[in-house]
């Protein structure tokens, strides 16, 4: 896909962010093409979660601006939905209430929001667990609830903060395959924070590599050859293997 003609769903322009004396982001600019999945990849402390939260409107930038569909971000908005690393499910609420919670906060009537929630619970494969509480679900199932909640508000941009880092390896692989399906079918823009090189290369249309001190985008990599291949053959694709190696070579020196 040629990016010069692709619209940007999200554009980050010269964003600065400090925590006290610590410089989290310095003059960071990055574009996120519509309908694609962009990973933010980097060692811990490079500010990737900070950047995602600024885009979400959960944190203010010190200067610079973030545009979502051309409109500047001033806070959380209906055009963005967030998937949290630690799931952020309400332990006192059943699956269906957790999934419908985004709509509940928007004032959607109960029967209507539960119908929507029902649909996305089925889409993430949790049919039959509507009335289970989070403590009755496995880690992977909890994140499916978190994903269904984000999908059910029907935002154009999905912000995912290391969504698979708290689930086991097998579940994570399944999630990564499912995510490729979502990107294909849902026509949404995905922003995906990860610290796994393999994961980033596997799922992304574009990988933005962030380096720390000061945080900056050091490189943007676009896997091309294997994007339309079958999910099972990606990991054997020479381009996939080369990219993983290349990214590791450039990140290696930043790992303590």
């Amino acid at each position: 896909m040629d990016t010069t003609i692709t619209e940007n769903a999200v554009a980050v322009r010269n964003v600065y962010k400090n925590y006290g004396d610590v410089e989290a982001l310095r003059d960071l600019s990055l574009d996120f093409p519509k309908g694609q999945l962009t990973s933010l990849l980097g060692p811990s402390g490079c500010g990737k979660t900070t950047l995602l939260k600024i885009i979400a409107g959960l944190l203010p930038a010190d200067s610079g601006e973030v545009l979502v569909n051309g409109k500047p971000v001033t806070g959380p908005g209906p055009d963005r939905a967030f998937v949290f690393q630690d799931f952020a499910l309400m332990p006192w609420a059943s699956t269906i209430r957790n999934v419908a919670f985004g709509l509940e906060l928007r004032g959607v009537a109960k029967s209507e929001r539960e119908a929507v929630a029902e649909k996305y619970i089925a889409a993430v494969g949790l049919t039959g667990f509507e009335n289970s509480y989070p403590h009755e679900l496995s880690g992977g199932m909890r994140q499916r609830v978190g994903l269904a909640r984000a999908l059910s508000v029907n935002a154009e941009v999905l912000l995912m903060d290391e969504p698979f880092s708290a689930v086991d390896e097998q579940t994570r692989r399944k999630f990564q395959e499912d995510l490729l399906g979502l990107v294909q079918n849902e026509n949404k823009t995905f922003l995906f924070v990860t610290h796994s090189i393999e994961e980033a290369v596997y799922v992304s249309n574009q990988v933005a590599i962030l380096l720390p001190r000061p945080s900056r985008v050091s490189e943007i990599i676009r896997p091309r050859g294997f994007r339309n291949k079958d999910v099972d053959s990606i990991r054997r694709d020479p381009e996939y293997l080369d990219l993983v190696d290349k990214i590791w070579a450039s990140l290696k020196s930043y790992v303590e």
């Binding site: 959380p76 949290f84 952020a88 332990p91 006192w92 609420a93 906060l105 928007r106 509480y133 403590h135």
Partner: protein, 255 residues
């Protein structure tokens, strides 16, 4: 069969142990002023039959119920505000810490001078006993709401009111209820303390009157009755909590 009724059987054993020890201690006797369990039970029955116990409780429950209700509503309200606002926390928390640690019995004469010997003073004593733990527990619970949940509420466009009502309160409710239980039991102590120290009325009157005429079985019957009532009430509160927040009792999801 034992497994199914284990809780009940063990609770009965516990009661048997306490009452047995009481009976034995009364028979030795450890003191001539310490009646046996059976004597106290008989005195208790006598007090119920002649209606003394009933009229006494009507009298005692008034400051207790009023005081506990005020403490619960005001306490949870103030606690909520304290937990939400740093500034308000600095303003009021010291007051409740002082209230909690103050030697109340020594302050009662002061209360009597200001509010007289009527209901007001007794309600005050109950409130001073019950409110601090309710306020401090509520504030602590509100402050400890997982930041991730509040962030989630913000990300999904919750208003401040939504976040308080739908996230902070349910998340804090187990600890608020724990504070409520502690507050209510402290309120029971306060109600009896008020009747012993201000004017002898109600159950406090039975206690001090029977002590003055050396009718120790009646005195212990009155003391035991207030303990039983407190335990029953606390059990009721626990049931209510279980009914209101079925899912909340389980641990937070973050492993």
């Amino acid at each position: 069969m034992f497994a199914r009724h284990r809780a009940v059987i063990l609770k009965l054993c516990s009661a048997l142990l306490v009452f047995g020890a009481w009976e034995i201690a009364g028979r030795i006797p450890v003191s001539f002023a310490f009646p046996t369990f059976i004597e106290s039970l008989a005195a208790f029955w006598a007090l119920i039959v002649d209606g003394t116990m009933f009229t006494a409780y009507v009298e005692t429950l008034r400051p207790l119920v009023v005081g506990v209700l005020i403490s619960a509503f005001l306490g949870i309200g103030i606690g909520l505000w304290t937990g939400l606002s740093r500034a308000f926390d600095w303003l009021v928390s010291p007051i409740f810490v002082v209230m909690q640690t103050a030697p109340l019995a020594a302050l009662i004469p002061l209360l009597v001078m200001v509010y007289g010997i009527g209901l007001t003073s007794k309600v005050f004593v109950v409130c001073i006993m019950a409110m601090p733990v309710i306020v401090l527990n509520t504030a602590g619970a509100v402050r400890n709401t997982p930041a991730a949940l509040i962030e989630m509420g913000n990300a999904f466009l919750g208003t401040r009111r939504d976040i308080i009502l739908k996230i902070i309160l349910p998340s804090a409710s187990p600890i608020i209820f724990a504070g409520l239980r502690l507050g209510v039991s402290a309120g029971f102590i306060g109600a009896i303390l008020a009747e012993l120290k201000i004017t002898p009325t109600g159950v406090g009157d039975i206690i001090s009157y029977s002590r003055s005429i050396a009718d120790y079985p009646s005195m212990y019957a009155a003391i035991a009755s207030i303990i039983v009532l407190a335990v029953l009430f606390l059990n009721l509160l626990e049931r209510l909590e279980g009914f209101l927040f079925m899912g909340t009792r389980k641990t937070l999801v973050s492993d």
